[in-house]
């Protein structure tokens, strides 16, 4: 699954520099692609996909998540991607239905 996400990000943002006008489109595109690929897996899960895109200016960023769920069935995955001009963090949370 991690390769899918990586691929998603690369495909959308791959060779581009950070652009304020396009960043909205990029985040939406990344998230939607990830979601469609997760749906194709055909498993009985609800998904939450989050993407944070940040311009590289030397500033720091911390992200944390905390979940209250069934640890035997639910899980999450986070991918950090970096280019010359920006950072991207994509998190996927999968919550079982039954």
């Amino acid at each position: 699954m991690d390769e899918y996400h990586n691929e998603c990000i690369e495909n959308v943002v791959g060779g581009d520099d950070y652009n304020q006008n396009l960043v909205n489109k990029w985040t939406s595109a990344i998230v939607e692609r990830c979601l469609t690929q997760l749906v194709k897996l055909g498993r009985q899960y609800k998904f939450i996909v989050t993407c944070a895109l940040m311009q590289k200016t030397g500033a720091g960023l911390h992200t944390a998540n905390s979940c209250y769920w069934d640890t035997t069935m639910d899980g999450s995955c986070t991918v950090r991607w970096e280019s010359r001009t920006m950072y991207c963090v994509v998190s996927v949370f999968a919550v079982a239905i039954v």
Binding site: A59, G60, R84
Partner: protein
Amino acid sequence: MSEVRQDKTVKRDKRTSKAPSEGSHVIKGKDTAGKTKDSLSNVSCIDEHHDGTTMAVTLENTYQMGPRKRFPAHAALEILKDVLKSYLQEEKYEVDWSRQMTKTLCEVIRARVKELMIRRYKLVVLVHIGQLAGQSMQISSRCLWDATFDTFATWSFKNSSLYGVASVYAVYYE
């Protein structure tokens, strides 16, 4: 984006081993001069499935079509506002402190939302704390769930040296 789920004729009740799980990731501010690679990626997973001691649980029907009490997004929003304001109001951004604070905020928010005692809802809490350095940032999320029962709340806070964004997602468990 939401997906309409079909009604199931049989509902099940399951004694779940609900337990908190956490993860955190840090992007440190750093000097990018002399970087030869074009892109880098880092992957981490929280995998809790290898616990051999949990026993298989037998399922029972509840015949319940939906939650008795819906998750109050406005109450969650008030909690987020309150927590972010009280913890971040007068603080300055520092690396170690921020790392600790993100995790603390996650736990505090999760505990307070749990206190609302909304049954059969699973929670996911996400907190970002970043330094204000003139950079631009976009955070977006999409969910595939049942829009009639599941909901979320999100709030962002800013002071002179840092910003904090907190989100809580509540997913109904049938």
